[in-house]
């Protein structure tokens, strides 16, 4: 068991290192020239001479090799850097240093800390809705397997999960919020200041995420429950005369929910990393919108690279936690 966890942690660290190298090389060498050109072109038309470009390159350290630059950058993440050169000025960038945003001139880390609460609020609310609703519907469908209600649920699952999420979100926002005004303005309002306002602003995005995702959870839970209900110990409990609902929710659900939680763990990480559509459509100031906004000219490379990196680290960590959690619940996993 310990061996499995150690091996799994080491692999995850390797994945994170590889991802960071990939992101770094992509962003700092993938551009035809180097990021220096971006900063240089900001000076205005005609002002970016070859000489100027060279001096910016030198000041930013891009005349050195990629490996050297990666070393400087990676060290900065742990101990910080006090001579980050952006746009003709020197900045201090305390650890964890992910660079300085070109557009706002703040450290990327401080912006990241500002934007994450919105994404977390969005993800936690939406995910709670679809987890609770999905498991409940799935369990009930398994209970009444074969009836009309069950068939309606399975059928609606097929249709709901087949329609692209962003279209549902877009139409919900346009018609429920803008036209019919059933829901108030959407957006993010810090939950620490006025929880009521946060909830009312977030309600529509939460519901859209919750309702569009809950069907696949219902279907998955139903499948697991159907399997569990065929087990001998369920039959034993039933024949002992334990009430059906008690058997269903106390005995069967406990066994059936483990694989559901596993998939949930991975989904939640992806949700945290990529609520881009939701944030864009409902105008929520989170990580997704932040990364998307960074694409406007001049492209804020530091912001996008940090967004990509932090999100992938999150997913790797979630993968790791789910694997470890699962290995405790099901010892067969560690053998494989």
């Amino acid at each position: 068991m310990t061996g499995f966890i150690v091996r799994r942690v080491l692999t995850s660290i390797l994945v994170v290192i590889l991802t960071s190298i990939f992101v770094f090389v992509l962003f700092f060498k993938g551009l035809g020239d180097s990021p220096a050109r971006n900063y240089c072109e900001k000076l205005g038309p005609g002002k970016c001479t070859a000489q100027k470009l060279d001096s910016i390159k030198q000041q930013m350290g891009f005349d050195k090799s990629v490996a050297y630059n990666y070393g400087v950058w990676a060290k900065g993440v742990f101990v910080g850097r006090d001579n980050v050169y952006v746009d003709g000025k020197l900045y201090k960038c305390p650890a964890p240093c992910l660079g300085i945003s070109i557009n706002t001139q703040n450290t990327v880390w401080s912006e990241l800390k500002q934007k994450y609460p919105a994404t977390i609020t969005l993800a936690v609310g939406g995910a709670s809705i679809y987890l609770v609703l999905g498991v409940l519907l799935g369990a009930l469908a398994a209970r009444w397997r074969g009836t009309a209600a069950d068939r309606v649920l399975v059928g609606s699952t097929l249709i709901v999960s087949a329609i692209p999420f962003y279209l549902v979100a877009l139409l919900a926002w346009i018609y429920l919020s803008l036209q019919l005004k059933i829901f108030p303005t959407t957006g993010y309002y810090p939950i620490t200041q006025n929880p009521g306002k946060t909830i009312s602003w977030m309600m529509l995005p939460w519901l859209v995420i919750g309702l569009t995702n809950c069907t696949s959870y219902a279907r998955f839970t139903r499948g697991q429950m159907v399997e569990t209900l065929n087990e001998d110990y369920i039959r034993t409990a039933m024949s002992k005369g334990v009430k059906t609902n008690r058997v269903l929710f106390k005995h069967a659900l406990r066994a059936a929910i483990v694989p559901v939680i596993t998939i949930f763990g991975l989904d939640f990480a992806t949700l945290l990393a990529g609520t881009i559509f939701t944030e864009r459509i409902f105008d929520i100031d989170g990580i997704g919108k932040w990364s998307l906004d960074a694409l406007s000219t001049p492209i804020d490379l530091q912001v996008i690279s940090a967004g990509v990196l932090v999100s992938s680290v999150l997913i790797v960590v979630a993968n790791l936690l789910v694997d470890i959690f699962y290995s405790f619940l099901d010892p067969r996993v560690s053998v494989a």
């Binding site: 994945v15 962003y166 803008l178 990529g274």
Partner: protein
Amino acid sequence: MGISATELAEAPTGSHEQPEGKKLAGRSPTQIALQRLRKDKLAVVCGIIVLLMILAAVFAPVICNILNIYPTTATIPYDPSKVLHFGGASFGLPKQGPPEHGYWAAHPLGLAPGTAVDNLARLLYGLRTSLLVASIATIASILIGVVLGLIAGFSRGWLDRIIMFVTDLFLSFPFILGALAMAPILVAHFQHNLNTLARVQLFSLIFILVIFGWMGLTRLIRGQVLSLREREFVMAAQVMGVPTSRILFKELLPNLVAPIVVATSLSLPGYVTAEAGLSYLGIGLTGTPSLGQTINDAQSYWQQYPLYLWAPVITITVLVLALNLLGDSVRDAFDPRTRR
């Protein structure tokens, strides 16, 4: 994107059931599945819808020529007094045709505000782009997935471990972030030549979809090969000295037709959704007509010009829904046990 874990878990392992009826000889599992598919009414309806959309996409240039409409250039010369308002109080809406001036036979879906490009032509060409991107991405990711899965499953040992590590590496990286990372780099490279940029965007979009789309099938095929390679017919071939590449492609591959067909039918709608989604966000296609891009343009006109927004929305919804339901029927046809 691609196929999810839930769908993979339900993917068939090949049909072992005997066909019903009196004639027992001469039908392969694929033929049996096709016969089941023909009996499935939902599958037939979805198949017809998909076929019609494919025809519309393939013949988009012909249809547009006949109707005399163009997907990229303004159809009517700019004449503010007679035909079009650009900007201002009338929101740049055309003076003829929908939304305010009734149905207009020359342009059934109207003209786009601001640009006066025909909406029907853009829709047909958008459908063309969607299906082109999705089918190329599907073919490429299936080739990669099958080859890597076969190699990983058959070789075991270090090669298997490397391939599975790379697979997990790509699985841990959300594809939308990959697209987000690629977009600025392409724009920075080709921003001075818009024609090249459009073409490069198309290739890079397909590239991103493939790069983040092959892993599911690799895992699935590897699992299948791991069990198949222990069977007698593979051992017999090995003992007889059949070369490994021949065993892989002549002995094992025919047994993997069912999972491959199912994976194909399930990944097509995923790619259509992904293409339109990225183009909607502005990090997919910008120079090529695309349904997602039209939705992005049209969303600010939701009140003045609903048809502009609804035409691409309905087209994508119907296409993705039909492809998804068809894919589900295909899965059920290849393995009836999945529908409990």
